[in-house]
């Protein structure tokens, strides 16, 4: 299988605090990788580094074989290929759902307005949101907003989709509708890196699970092995806590 994303020895510091302490990760095309680990372990920072929202201090990120952390790289061009969905949705509140979705295709890809509109309608319909096209984000439920945010990222036809704890800000009853969207995307072969606290979902959707602890990937492997027989002591303790909290 060809390689969609490779991360080589990535370090990231915020001032004195080193958040990523040498991350190596390889993601193949059509692969779904879930990042698990406690809050503060570096999951979100890693995703933000992949999308160049944070500059890395050392190491490199390769997208389809191209080093995007090299000097002279057009960051805007890289971000067109990498989609990211945030925990807090971050829809643009002054734009309708439709305009949220078409903004980047029209402004960045130079698509015509009517082309972009019809593409957006198709995408929205696929996720059961077409009747919301004319609404403003504040009229939508959290689950709907997050699905729009996913559609907004998909409208750029990214080669990799990064999902940063996208259900953490949702009411429990709204989580399922968002996770279903991700399952569908996985089934269609979308390459994804997913930071999540939803262990059952990770077990279900991931081809591979990486356990992050204190800025390092301590353990990685197929979900069945990680969740049933983790070899690392810290992974075991983390999963025990999750089970004790009734989250798995």
């Amino acid at each position: 299988m060809s390689e969609a994303l490779r991360i080589d020895g990535v370090h990231k510091r915020f001032g004195e605090l080193e958040v990523l302490k040498g991350i190596d990760l390889r993601v193949d095309e059509h692969e779904v990788v879930c990042l698990i680990g406690a809050s503060g372990s570096g999951k979100s920072t890693l995703l933000r580094c992949i999308d160049l929202l944070e500059p890395v201090n050392a190491g490199s990120v390769l997208i389809r074989g191209r080093d995007v952390t090299a000097k002279g790289i057009d960051q805007n061009e890289v971000r067109r290929q990498v989609g990211i969905v945030f925990q807090s949705f971050n829809l643009f509140p002054h734009m309708t759902v439709l305009r949220n979705v078409t903004l980047a295709p029209t402004r960045v890809l130079g698509k015509g307005r009517s082309d972009a509109d019809s593409d957006a309608h198709t995408l929205l319909a696929r996720f059961g949101l077409d009747d919301k096209a004319g609404e403003y984000p504040d009229r939508l439920s959290g689950g709907q907003q997050q699905r729009v945010a996913i559609v907004r990222a998909l409208a750029m036809e990214p080669s990799v989709l990064l999902l940063d704890e996208i259900t953490s800000a949702l009411d429990p009853e709204l989580v399922a509708e968002v996770l279903d969207v991700i399952r569908e995307l996985a089934a269609q072969g979308m390459t994804m890196v997913i930071a999540t606290h939803e262990m059952a979902f990770a077990r279900d959707v991931a081809n591979r699970v990486c356990f992050l602890d204190d800025g390092r990937i301590l353990e990685e492997g197929p979900p069945d092995r990680i969740f049933s027989e983790p070899t690392n002591e810290r992974t075991r303790r983390f999963l025990d806590r999750i089970i004790a909290a009734g989250r798995m």
Binding site: D51, E77, I84, F86, F92, H94, D138, A153
Partner: protein, 297 residues
């Protein structure tokens, strides 16, 4: 209540009632019933009645009336004062759009990040510090008398024109700060979301940050607009042979030794500024209501 400044920015006032009608003059009367209203009306009549009674029966009332409320003087001066007020209206109506444009440019210059833009940032900062730090009347005086005196070929030589330019320069600095506060109030996650979609810095500012920022600062912008309306009177000191309302009133007052014309000017200003103030309050209240209804503006 308190902290009206903070409320304008949507910062304070977390415990306002859902209908968001706190600042209304008549609000305390709500729920008081017929008896409450009757008491309010009666006490108002008594208080105002006493004030008017003592004013009219004070020993200086006759002098005061003659000096400030002379009907004859009003009839003589007011048509000219009102006519001159058209210039005030012209000044603020033409200055305001220019100020909004310059100020937005300054605010954007100041918000640009990265070492490449340092000169622009520095320039904008110096400009804003300078004109925010100077009394408006001083700027108007300096330009209104100073520039015409230089007799630079091709430059207008009328005092009012340079006074008008002075107002624009001065107010642009204030309005730029209002815009900047608005830009700063947009959460960084909005920028992150836009940049993540591949929008450039400039596209992000243009499509995502500025539209939201401008919406948020409409009420404080309106306050500056009201201040500008009033400060058109400052042009009086340089308007010379093209008197605006205040100078026209001064001319009558100086000739007749009577202050009634000045009161006429005051009336002109109030007719414009009070509705604008009410409108601004209404806007503020609407924003507060929408925020409380969960709208993100």
């Amino acid at each position: 209540m308190g902290q009206p400044g903070l409320q304008e920015w949507g910062v304070g006032d977390p415990g306002a009632p859902p209908e968001g009608r706190r600042s209304k003059l008549l609000e305390p009367l709500r729920g008081e019933g017929v008896k409450g209203v009757a008491i309010a009306v009666a006490s108002t009549i008594v208080v105002l009645g006493l004030l008017i009674y003592f004013a009219i029966h004070s020993p200086t009332w006759a002098d005061f009336k003659q000096q400030f409320l002379s009907g004859a003087e009003f009839r003589r001066s007011f048509p000219d004062v009102l006519d001159a007020f058209k210039r005030n209206i012209f000044y603020f109506l033409t200055a305001e759009p220019i100020i909004l444009g310059i100020a937005l440019l300054l605010a954007v210059m100041r918000s640009l990040r990265g070492p490449v833009f340092f000169p622009l940032r520095l320039l904008a900062t110096i400009y804003i510090d300078l004109f925010r730090g100077l009394p408006t009347i001083l700027v108007v005086y300096m330009l209104g008398f100073g520039v015409p005196a230089l007799r630079i070929p091709g430059f207008p030589v009328s005092g009012w024109f340079w006074g008008w330019v002075g107002l624009i320069l001065s107010y642009s600095a204030y309005v730029a700060e209002v815009y900047r506060a608005g830009i700063d109030s947009i959460h960084p996650s909005q920028t992150a979301a836009a940049r993540a979609l591949g929008l450039s810095r400039w596209q992000t500012l243009q499509s995502v940050v500025i539209p939201q920022a401008v919406r948020r600062v409409v009420p404080p912008l309106m306050n500056d607009f009201i201040a500008l309306q009033k400060d058109t009177a400052v042009i009086a000191i340089v308007s010379g042979t093209f008197p605006e309302s205040f100078l026209m009133a001064q001319i009558y007052q100086a000739g007749d030794f009577n202050f009634t014309p000045i009161l006429g000017t005051a009336l002109c200003f109030l007719v414009i500024t009070i509705p604008t103030t009410r409108f601004t309050d209404w806007q503020l209240e609407r924003q507060r209501r929408r925020r409380q209804a969960g709208a993100a503006l």
